[in-house]
């Protein structure tokens, strides 16, 4: 990977974060009324004294860019302002819930990586009925939207078979694990299907590739061929799609949290949006967007560094 590609990609990251944060901050000025009313939580007749205080705290009377710059600087210092709806500092609200979301995203990511790659690889190597079955099931998993999968899982594994709890995020490691299993599964399902299909296609393509024929022609043992050539070469696209999947999980974590009542950051953001508590929505959406973009960039950089063919394409 050329330093130039890395620099371009990092510059794009910074620009994307800047533009996104500008949009997040600027959104509240689109409201027909006083943006300050959004910051007190959209209440219809707020106290004028409070509004004036908000105007000062959020630099609403300054020129737009200056106000934005203040806000961004505060955010970078970890000061996300105060929520008048929750009567708490936004940073504290986020701190209380970030752990749950992190655990949920990690859990779902592990499920995607483990199940997706294993199903895809086994399907491609076994072929025949196993492959047909895996393709059908994963296509089904991809078609079911996360929130429908959520209600389906609740019905099947919390009501019909009362194996998992539904509400809350649990105490301790095992408690967290049992509470987060269904939300993580609902979140992961689409991407398990996706990763499995990409893995299957990649492994199949490598199995039929000419360089694998060369290895076989030299008497290299089949297990070695699969490990050193098939899986090794297929790992590139699988890694790339897994990264996209993890970014996608972050973007949709809110849906699973809301469906299962797993009070994390996503649920906080949606609750706050419903109450028009703009300070919270801005802070949480900024965090989500930054993490989303960071992961996408990291995946791009790593997969380019790993794959000499990507480097070749990039050079052209």
């Amino acid at each position: 990977m050329s330093p130039r590609f890395a620099a371009t990609r990092l510059a794009m990251l910074v620009v994307t974060v800047l533009v996104s944060s500008l949009a997040i901050h600027g959104a509240m000025f689109l409201t027909p009324g006083d943006p300050a009313t959004l910051l007190v939580g959209g209440s219809r007749n707020p106290d004028p004294a409070v509004l004036a205080q908000i105007h000062r705290a959020y630099h609403l009377d300054d020129p737009f860019l200056q106000g934005y710059w203040h806000w961004l600087g505060d955010c970078l210092r970890g000061d996300f302002g105060k929520s008048l709806v929750y009567r708490d500092s936004v940073a504290d609200l986020i701190g209380d819930r970030a752990g749950t979301t992190l655990a949920l995203v990690l859990y779902a990511s592990v499920l995607v990586l483990a199940a997706g790659t294993v199903i895809g690889t086994v399907a491609a190597l076994r072929g025949g009925r196993t492959e047909t079955l895996a393709t059908t099931v994963t296509a089904g998993a991809m078609a079911v939207p996360t929130f429908v999968m959520a209600v389906l899982l609740i019905w099947l594994f919390a009501v019909k078979l009362p194996w998992f709890p539904v509400y809350g995020s649990g105490e301790g490691f095992t408690g967290t694990l049992t509470h987060l299993t269904l939300p993580a599964a609902a979140l992961a399902m689409t991407w398990i299907g996706y990763v499995a299909q990409v893995t299957r296609t990649a492994v199949r393509a490598e199995m039929r590739s000419e360089h694998v024929e060369t290895a076989r022609s030299r008497g290299v043992p089949e297990r070695t061929v699969i490990r050193r050539h098939v899986l090794h070469n297929a790992s590139g696209p699988v890694f790339a799609v897994s990264g996209v999947g993890i970014a996608g999980i972050i973007a949709t974590a809110a849906v699973a949290e809301q469906a299962f009542g797993t009070g994390g950051l996503g649920a906080l953001m949606i609750e706050a949006a419903a109450k028009q508590d703009m300070a919270v929505v801005q802070a949480v959406s900024l965090i989500f967007v930054v993490v989303f973009v960071l992961i996408n960039t990291a995946v791009d950089l790593i997969s380019t560094a790993l794959d000499p063919r990507a480097a070749q394409k990039e050079a052209r």
């Binding site: 590739s209 000419e210 360089h211 024929e213 060369t214 290895a215 076989r216 022609s217 030299r218 008497g219 290299v220 043992p221 070695t224 050193r228 050539h229 090794h232 070469n233 590139g236 794959d307 000499p308 063919r309 480097a311 070749q312």
Partner: protein, 331 residues
């Protein structure tokens, strides 16, 4: 021809599953390669020559069915158990493929590719394997071998990469080298170098060669004997020096006439009427019957069997006669 050749292909037929049905892609191939000799298998694309070469290594696609016999030093390749086949591939026969860019794993290093056969298939320690392939790289004209070993395939030119492939094949110390159009993917100047390297390596090692090509002229220049394939059948097998002007089979003659030649500037080029058939499209009768100027009724009903014609064989009901004058000049 009295002793058993190193490789003997006897009435080889190959069926491949196409769209869920088994189709005969190779009808009948007969071929022999004595120890240390070079034989060319010539044919148009789709004639089944690459498949024939792969059958020598037992390297056919899944679901393929083989008839007839492929004997290496008297041992049947199609009947080898998987373990024996693996050992056979690792030690006795090595293959140089057409497109080195596709046939060398792009995601692994050159050194890794070169020593892999020795370390994984033969259990040679990596350091010893490295020493060995470094020496062979020098032999095939790659002087800065150590540096090349550390590079990746996309950093090398096509010609260099094909030398690497040849070096990898030689590292296995095989008795027979299969070369499947080893120069087709390269430019003209590199082609000659690659053929020269193969020639030198053969001379130094007493290596037998099965050379797959669509180029009759090149085949005659490089090999002792030439077998011509058409639509899955070897239609003629003859000494390379009898090819020019004195081939018996109408297809061989047509093929020669359709090729521009440096020695024959100004001569009329004649294309063969009709289009080449794939093995599975062949009707009853002679595969070449529809395009043959000499074809008669018999050719459309009966498939000709290979028969001796002078010091070769031809599968033709009406081979070109060898005139006295021609035989005389030849002798």
């Amino acid at each position: 021809m009295s002793t058993e050749p190193l490789l003997r292909i006897d009435a080889l037929g190959i069926d491949l599953p196409l769209d869920g049905e088994l189709r005969t892609v190779v009808h009948r191939v007969d071929l022999g390669i004595p120890e240390g000799a070079a034989v060319a298998l010539v044919g148009e694309s789709g004639s089944g020559k690459s498949l024939t070469a792969r059958s020598v290594l037992g390297l056919l696609p899944p679901g393929a069915r083989v008839h007839g016999e492929v004997l290496f030093a008297g041992e049947s390749v199609p009947r080898m158990r998987p373990e024996r086949l693996r050992a056979f591939r690792a030690t006795d026969v090595a293959m140089v493929f057409q497109d080195p860019r596709a046939h060398i794993n792009p995601a692994r290093g050159i050194g890794d590719f070169l020593i892999e056969g020795l370390t994984t298939a033969r259990g040679v320690p990596a350091a010893e394997a490295s020493r060995k392939v470094t020496a062979i790289l020098r032999e095939v004209g790659i002087p800065d071998a150590e540096r090349r070993m550390r590079q990746r395939p996309h950093e090398l030119s096509g010609g260099l990469l094909q030398r690497v492939m040849i070096a990898a094949a030689l590292a296995a110390e095989p008795r027979l080298l299969l070369a499947d159009e080893p120069t087709t993917a390269l430019d003209v100047t590199t082609q000659e170098e690659v053929m020269a390297i193969i020639g030198e390596a053969r001379a130094a090692r007493g290596l037998a060669l099965l050379f797959i090509t669509h180029d009759l002229e090149l085949a005659a220049a490089v090999c002792d004997r030439v077998a011509v394939m058409y639509a899955g059948t070897t239609v003629e097998e003859l000494p390379a020096d009898r090819l020019r002007g004195r081939a018996s089979h109408p297809y061989t003659r047509a093929l020669l006439a359709s090729r521009p030649s440096v020695s024959d500037i100004g001569a009329q080029l004649r294309s063969i009427p009709g289009r080449p058939l794939s093995g599975f499209e062949v009707p009853g009768g002679c595969a070449f019957g529809d395009r043959c100027p000499r074809a008669r009724d018999l050719c459309r009903t009966d498939r000709p069997e290979p028969a001796s014609v002078e010091d070769g064989t031809a599968a033709c009901h009406f081979p070109h006669p060898l005139t006295l004058e021609e035989t005389g000049r030849h002798a």
